[in-house]
Symmetry: C3
Subunit: 377 residues, 3 copies
Amino acid sequence: MKYTIIAVIAFLFLSSCGDSMKSTSVEKDVFDEAQIKSSMIKALEWQEAHPIFAVHPTDWTNGAYYTGVARAHKTTGDMMYMAALKNQAVANDWQPFERLYHADDIAISYSYLYVAMNEKRRDFADLEPTKNFLDTHLYEDNNWKAGTNKSKEDKTILWWWCDALFMAPPVINLYVKHAKQPEYLDVMHKYYMETYNRLYDQEEQLFARDMRFVWKGNDDDRKEPNGKKVFWSRGNGWVIGGLALLLEDMPKDYEHRAFYVNLYKEMANRILEIQPEDGLWRTSLLDPESNDHGEVSGSGFYTFALAWGINNGYLDKKHTPAVKKAWKGIAACQHEDGRVGWVQNIGAFPEPASKDSYQNFGTGAFLLAGSEILKLQ
Amino acid sequence: MKYTIIAVIAFLFLSSCGDSMKSTSVEKDVFDEAQIKSSMIKALEWQEAHPIFAVHPTDWTNGAYYTGVARAHKTTGDMMYMAALKNQAVANDWQPFERLYHADDIAISYSYLYVAMNEKRRDFADLEPTKNFLDTHLYEDNNWKAGTNKSKEDKTILWWWCDALFMAPPVINLYVKHAKQPEYLDVMHKYYMETYNRLYDQEEQLFARDMRFVWKGNDDDRKEPNGKKVFWSRGNGWVIGGLALLLEDMPKDYEHRAFYVNLYKEMANRILEIQPEDGLWRTSLLDPESNDHGEVSGSGFYTFALAWGINNGYLDKKHTPAVKKAWKGIAACQHEDGRVGWVQNIGAFPEPASKDSYQNFGTGAFLLAGSEILKLQ
Amino acid sequence: MKYTIIAVIAFLFLSSCGDSMKSTSVEKDVFDEAQIKSSMIKALEWQEAHPIFAVHPTDWTNGAYYTGVARAHKTTGDMMYMAALKNQAVANDWQPFERLYHADDIAISYSYLYVAMNEKRRDFADLEPTKNFLDTHLYEDNNWKAGTNKSKEDKTILWWWCDALFMAPPVINLYVKHAKQPEYLDVMHKYYMETYNRLYDQEEQLFARDMRFVWKGNDDDRKEPNGKKVFWSRGNGWVIGGLALLLEDMPKDYEHRAFYVNLYKEMANRILEIQPEDGLWRTSLLDPESNDHGEVSGSGFYTFALAWGINNGYLDKKHTPAVKKAWKGIAACQHEDGRVGWVQNIGAFPEPASKDSYQNFGTGAFLLAGSEILKLQ
């Protein structure tokens, strides 16, 4: 018998995030490989048993989730991830969601591409719908590209909100690798630069979520209660998480690769600089007091991106303790039954989360983080 | 540590319905708010993991189940209910089932309407199929309305069986509220009165299930072993459960509202009068000895309707202990893993249930009951 | 309280297959009826929560799984099996998979036929797609029948690989029983004999998987490391499992019945002869040392077929202890959460399994075995 009775009982009632800093006499070793793998599988099983989406199973929420599932499979090879990936791909008939102009609706294709590239059965995956989406998305005109949209978000470029940099570019990049069509990368880079030039705050080295949060020097510029600019944790998580995905599969000799490497490094260091004491980022990066609790979707994307950077030589190993502290905090937000809590709901700016609040993309961030933490030894 | 070792062990092996009256030294407080919410979520999770239906996911069995899920969401706001509601609505493409003349096949639209009215995303729900069904169901002729059907059930009115009063009227009523089309209410009332006039036993203040169970003064009138009339518990549960749903959303100034209020009060008092000692109704209301065990679908609908009446001022608060006793009995029929047992199988008259017998509509009745018990403090 | 604290703790940590032979002070009685039923339901629940397939939900992997679910329902009558059977049948719209020439793609119809024959609701099942498949499969020409295919597997008969004898014949046989069309049996027999004549090794009384494994007396004949012929455990499991299914529903007076009875008896005795000491067959029947661990899909099919033979008078009762030993081994391969492990992955010849390796058809074999072990008292 591995545990004493007391240990078993304690295990059954291990508390979640909020209590995570309290010491317990018998604690799980959150860096033990078997423990990490087990917590990841439990997260998968819980999420598969609790389907959730914004409007459709193929929308961006599952896009982010199954990107995490794909990366978890890549690291562990556990067939349970591949089974889930294939199951949803076939159920969705390999279709992206419906708005060809909207980056959100192609995010799910990251998982389709992953299955196509990693499942031994030939002619199983159907990537035609993905290719058709990309061709229209990148090459045909639309209201946003044309700049004719009149909304307060100023939707006058293709990727007018920073989340888009996770939704579309990694898919395009992986499609380039799979289909050997490098010309898509150049179009991607053009649109990426538009977003970067508009939303990246050079001084803060963070992304505004959209034009509503970019200061214009007016009295009505949006401010946090402490007077700082609004930098949304998950929003920046989308960007740096997307950068890690991009860099791993982007050709080493791609002419604009250095831009992405530099952007990754700048953001990574800034994110580390503002990491709260307990390891978990708050929903508002520069005003942590407003909702003063760790939030798991943003923190998960950061942990993934930072650990990926260390694992791949883009970030100094000296940051390992900081990244491990983040994972320790994230792991404590998982309920005993597998649910990943403390995930901010669907939104576009900082809002609070709670012990019970979950979303599939939060589980995706958890799996992304775990998949790199496993390699961080 | 909240519990002692003994408490934990006892908790793991807490027995179900049949044993519910045995005292255990450590008992869950079935009226604790967190405990009620937890047992409801466990019921939802178990049912979602064990899909079941008569002939199709959109049939009346899921109709009743997801009505319970909708009401559970209305009371608790727990996103897990809304996730399940949206998931099935999208999977079913917002379609009612196929027989436009059959009240059973529109029951699922209660959940579609609820999502449409309570999910913030605009243009997400598609209520056209519901409207089309209602238009045909209410305004076009069919075999039953025409009275040309020749069967022993005497299917010569639209809603010839009492279950129909749960399946269609609350959907019509909610559609009226949503779409602001009060004229549908008058048609509903016409058909409701047909059923009432035919199946309601003024003396017993209970509904016969269909014409087979209405006494005509003949020797072959159907009798229970004790010589009493056959009044089916779930059948009357459909009616009074439907009445509570109707009254909550029916315009306060609707011209026939008093009829529904009076019918609700008559039935509620009668149901209370015949409540068995242990709180749970038997499948045959006037012959409890025949299958002498509590049955959860009927009891669940009663508990919902009675608690709703107290919560909304239609029933005297003095009945609270009786209603609580019913909930205590129902709660004891839930297995440790979440399954709601002791539900009579699909049928049309009293038949026995068992500890393991479950149905989605039984889980729906459990959720309906819990959603009002939560407010009964 | 039924158990002592120690017993409960031990129960929570009961280990799986690899450790199964270690004695524990508190052991489940794997032959207790309630225990067998409980372990079967847990296997079902786990598998339903972890959908997996090769290429589509209607492919042979689910075909074999739901055949096991159907037989579990036949033995136990537990409605949870029927709910799962109906759910997948409706979700799949009663369609076989798509290749009308391929035996694999009709295997799922065993479950459709079972539902049609055992669900009380009339006109619920749609067997037209099954009939259309069979008509084409049996009566129309194709590349394999024509013998024009040029591959190393020598695909020059309809059922050129031994697995096919599980996939198609039991479905044809059950269709004959259901639709009262005995002429299909004769066509089945013709193709069965082709496979038998080609792949059955009269000396070893086992089936080669396909022509690659039939020795031609050449230097490059495939051999195991110990020099023996390659006889794949699951491959022979498909055949003898299929024989038990066939014999149960084949007309007692069918002219070729004796052939199937004799083949069953020959194989059953040979399988018993080579049973390893711990009860579980290795993936390579004549070279057990190569992957020297029990494998559950083959062993499950054997246990099903052998127990069926004892239960139906085709095998001497003296073999009961051997069959029970096999079930004991299989039961020990089930994880605490219900997963049936130690199942060789999809393949065509002996390869190793592991504690965690699962497949739906492995769960199907487990359910088939359990359904006959329940009757073996």
